[in-house]
Symmetry: C2
Subunit: 341 residues, 2 copies
DNA sequence: CTGAAAGCGCTTACAG
DNA sequence: CTGAAAGCGCTTACAG
């Protein structure tokens, strides 16, 4: 890789002059500038941005932590982030939490050493360790937490969805259709899951409906058979629920599968509501009734917020108050719910 | 962010001594080393890796270009890559092709300026421009192409799937079940799509079966209604095909949906084979018969190959011959295919 | 217009 | 053991 010095040597001018010529700064004659430009092009010169990062104290990179990229929800969030970052000439360095279970502090340390300007953080899957929270505290750069919250990150900006309201909307929808006996396959392991469940319970209560605790199942890992098995159990009961609220579309798919395997019909025998409006929600039959999130917007807003914080630093503005930004969700009526017979 | 100089000043020693102490090099007394270590910890010192990158000529970063992260196929490839990179202390800088349509050279230029040590490249969605290929040629670092090939990248290492064989296996499976009238919803826009189609045609020919060209549809964009509409057309024909080979699982899902909407049964009225074995393939009913790829392994192997190339550079080994690495695929028999009546 | 020099944050021979 | 100095690749005041 050819350096400034090399270009300078070839052109027979000083390094300083070469720098000015290539960065378009005044202080070089047009003739020498052209000569330098030509040689640089011919030598395939690429300025070393690492140097610029050191000099300016800005690496123009952002740390990005992710749990997995297993569906279009996280995929779209990423897309939204990349879009905004690209526009602002920032590039993300991506590290997966999965890789460093119980040593999340390593991730933060790496980001610190690489001098990222800020952090876009999908919280780690597991409960954060003390060491991690410690490292987080001493992490000197702006942080925006995405999608999930957890104990210890209340002091940071947050961008996610109106999960609580989503839980309410899903439940309201079923109640409006006449359902009273509603089960819930929820997910206590994440803040989104807990919020959606809270929304469910508050809505049931608001309408004076009983929550049948024997129909309430926590799905610890929704990639496995767990949801499917619970769904089968629910659907096999006589006088079982007439509707099921699922933590997300994957769980809802498991309910569809369980119903199918029991020769039951969704929505004729049971109604199902999902959450997320994943790509698959409208691909399957029956199409899922689901609560649409707006992952693209979540990604964009999270990144924009981070850029604001970074600009604020430059402007040396007063310490900010962390902002919680929850993007509205929307009921998508598919074919997996119907009025009770 | 505290610097070496700051630590040195506080400790009242030279920068050199501080450096030695913190990097564990000999040449400092144990007493001062401890003093320095303590101050560094207390000052929350983090060495600036950008400096190290400049000095060593190794940034320990890898450029990663992606089209989208819309399903678990790409997601798992990424996971595999991140795993291997993390193990070797490399971190990826991720840029999405989507963002810079028709100016892919910008991406490469950014990577060059950021001095990534190598490149893991999902080829751009659109036909590469001349400027792009130009920039690629002058990109001085090792490159591994992933999943898709395109004209102009024949000279690079490649890691992907046995798509051609996959096309054969899918077709063989249907033929073994007695199907003769087989349609194909293919995807000419990508090399994988073309290879799978070739595998289909060669297998049909091998068995002396006629390819009915009026049942052959190119799916330009498989996120849209396109596949669904073509599938409906195919399924509405009297004496239509008894089986359909789909470019991938998403297209296969569209066939399932079309069948459902026409009150037809898969597999009783028509058999369908997908490709990829996405997470959704076993979530839907009927479960998809599909050709499983091994995205995790693709990701790992691609990253490993890149690391080998990087090691080779250090060792100053002779110019290598580009290696093409196609991971075997595997037939997964679901419920979407059955012997012909 | 042009060049020599300082400095960004570090490491590494080289003197003392 | 310890410090001063050169150097990585650049930019930016500062002299000429």
């Amino acid at each position: 890789m050819s350096s400034l010095a090399k270009i300078a040597r070839i052109c027979g001018v000083s390094v300083g002059a070469t720098s000015k010529a290539l960065t378009g700064k005044p202080g070089v004659s047009e003739v020498t500038r052209q000569r330098i430009l030509n040689v640089a092009a011919q030598q395939n010169y690429r300025p070393n941005r690492l140097v610029h990062a050191i000099q300016s104290g800005r690496s123009m990179t952002v740390g990005l932590t992710c749990n997995d990229f297993q569906d279009d929800f996280v995929g779209s969030i990423l897309k939204g982030m990349l879009e905004v970052l690209y526009e602002a000439s920032y590039d993300p360095i991506v590290i997966s939490w999965d890789l460093c279970v119980h040593e999340g502090e390593t991730v933060l340390r790496t980001f610190a050493e690489r001098r990222v300007d800020g952090l876009l953080m999908f919280p780690p899957a597991d409960q954060p360790t003390h060491a991690y929270l410690q490292e987080l505290k001493s992490f000197q750069r702006p942080i925006v937490v995405v999608d999930q919250v957890f104990a210890g990150v209340e002091d940071y900006d947050f961008t996610g969805s109106q999960d609580y309201e989503g839980g309410q909307i899903a439940t309201e929808h079923l109640i409006k259709l006449g359902h009273k006996n509603i089960a819930n396959l929820y997910h206590l392991e994440t803040s989104t899951g807990r919020a959606r469940l809270d929304g469910f319970r508050s809505t049931m209560q608001k309408h004076g409906l009983i929550v049948h605790e024997q129909w309430m199942y926590n799905i610890e890992h929704y990639g496995t058979k767990e949801a499917y098995n619970h769904a089968k159990r629910l659907l096999s009961e006589k006088n079982g629920p007439t509707a099921i609220v699922a933590f997300n579309d994957w769980v809802a798919l498991d309910v569809l599968a369980a119903a199918r395997d029991l020769n039951l019909s969704v929505p004729n025998d049971v109604s199902v509501v999902g959450f997320a409006n994943l790509r698959v929600a409208s691909s399957v039959r029956p199409r899922l009734t689901t609560i649409a999130q707006n992952p693209l917007l979540i990604g964009r807003r999270a990144a924009k917020r981070l850029l604001e914080l970074l600009d604020g630093e430059k402007a040396d503005s007063p310490p900010h108050h962390p902002v919680t930004d929850r993007i509205p969700v929307k009921l998508i009526i598919g074919e997996s719910t119907r009025p009770i017979a």
